[in-house]
Symmetry: C2
Subunit: 246 residues, 2 copies
DNA sequence: TTTAAAAATTGATCTAGGTCAAAGATCAGA
DNA sequence: TCTGATCTTTGACCTAGATCAATTTTTAAA
């Protein structure tokens, strides 16, 4: 059902030159542990727009996003859809101990995953405190993020939701210049209006209108629809309704 | 309900007769590990309506809810408020590794907490795989719950939100009869209309109206405002918009 | 380069749920 | 038992965002 392909240049990745190793689940692993993981892993590419797993399907692997953006989402019978997570490089896919996927995972852009078969990974996880500790840390971080998102979904206005999403993506793509608050920040928003709507609990029309409102108000500029340019990040932050912390 | 005058004798609790030990963070601990935890713990009672911690405050302890209901919530500067979690017996309070509370924690009913000082608990956590494993499992469970709540907040109608909340509380308070789907289920809803609104991302007026609409439609009956009686749980389930799984 | 499909904008209208306001219930304390 | 303080309900009205319906723009394929 999912169309994963093994392209040859993927062998260029390995744990030593891995772009996400310092933040992924294996962040705390030492060289010998990385060696074991390295022998277990395989890279898979998922083209943009394809499904990685569907809710209810058996999920026999877990892994880390190496490159690209994937989304975690839930759909109701009548088609209403809510994204419940954005999986960026270094984020973990799958839940150890669970054989059935609980959410849909889709490749928003082309995604490269560093995959492990679930059973051997779980065995190694339990035997390896370094891995286990990082896993807990990441789960707690995601829990914090999910709870912040609950405030957004439950209480923020459409404009605040858009501003919050833009700020989060800006932060993750462009860490340094965002923190000081001065200067222009430019970044790619690899999401369609519909994907943004699914994430924010809005319709795509409202997303479009609010993005253009932010543009009209001089908070952002648009180039090529999906590329956003923020003149003053503090001005954007002021539109989020929250966000006092780093 | 239980009168406040009947204050439980806190010294009566210990790990051997602890009502939550089999589900709490210490669930996998053996007797020697429980002995260590037992020497570190202290019980503390928080009266209904009081604050346990406030977001931004230093939080020098962690612990488990032994009895009562606490809420985890976030408030915006202008007063908009969103509950992001309901803490029931066996749920964990605090995040190891974080010195500042990120959310408000309040005692909805009278709450008894089994507390540990954060630093010694963290040291023991890292030295004790049994503790660490249960902690990860609980974090992942909470993450699943948070993500399901995101679907509710982002996409469900007011009526579906109310039905979902009622079903969840019914399930937790009255597990067996709820599952078979037949027969009447009666339970206490220990939440004000305002607390429900904060949890569901609604206003208290909408909560009131929707509860009365469900009553008018024969889905539920009310006795004493906070006591709900469900004639046919499947009828309630049908109103939630989702919930096909156990 | 043309063309069809996909994505995005824009406008007109509708409505679920919010807001404001005023009674009723319920409860806890004296 | 009374009394003030919460809760809760109910009504009238309003608005943010949804819905429906065309365009227009962008992208990708031929």
């Amino acid at each position: 059902m999912h169309s994963a392909s093994q392209t040859p240049n993927l062998s260029a990745f390995n744990c030593c030159n891995c772009p996400i190793q310092k933040r992924a689940v294996c962040a705390y692993c030492d060289n010998s542990e990385l060696l074991v993981l390295g022998s277990m892993k395989s890279y898979k590419t998922y083209p943009a727009g394809t499904s990685i797993v569907r809710a209810g399907d058996p999920l026999d692997f877990v892994g880390s996003v190496v490159q690209g953006v994937a989304s975690l989402s839930q759909t109701m019978e009548d088609g209403r859809r809510q994204m419940v997570g954005l999986l960026l490089p270094s984020d973990f896919v799958g839940r150890p101990g669970r054989a059935m996927a609980k959410f849909d995972v889709e490749a928003t852009s082309e995604v490269i995953l560093c995959q492990f078969n679930r059973a051997p990974f779980e065995r190694f996880l339990h035997a390896t405190p370094h891995l286990h500790e990082r896993m807990l840390e990441m789960a707690l971080d995601e829990l914090d993020a999910a709870r912040e998102w609950m405030l957004l979904l439950g209480r923020k206005t459409a404009r605040e939701k858009i501003a919050s999403l833009l700020l989060i993506v800006a932060k993750r793509q462009n860490a340094a210049p965002v923190l000081d608050g001065i200067g222009m920040v430019k970044f790619d928003l690899n999401l369609t209006r519909e994907a943004m709507a699914d994430y924010l609990g809005l319709t795509l029309e409202t997303v479009s209108r609010q993005i253009n409102a932010l543009k009209k108000d001089g908070i952002i500029q648009l180039e090529k629809k999906r590329q956003i340019c923020v003149n003053n990040i503090d001005q954007l932050r002021a539109e989020t309704g929250t966000d006092f912390e780093g």
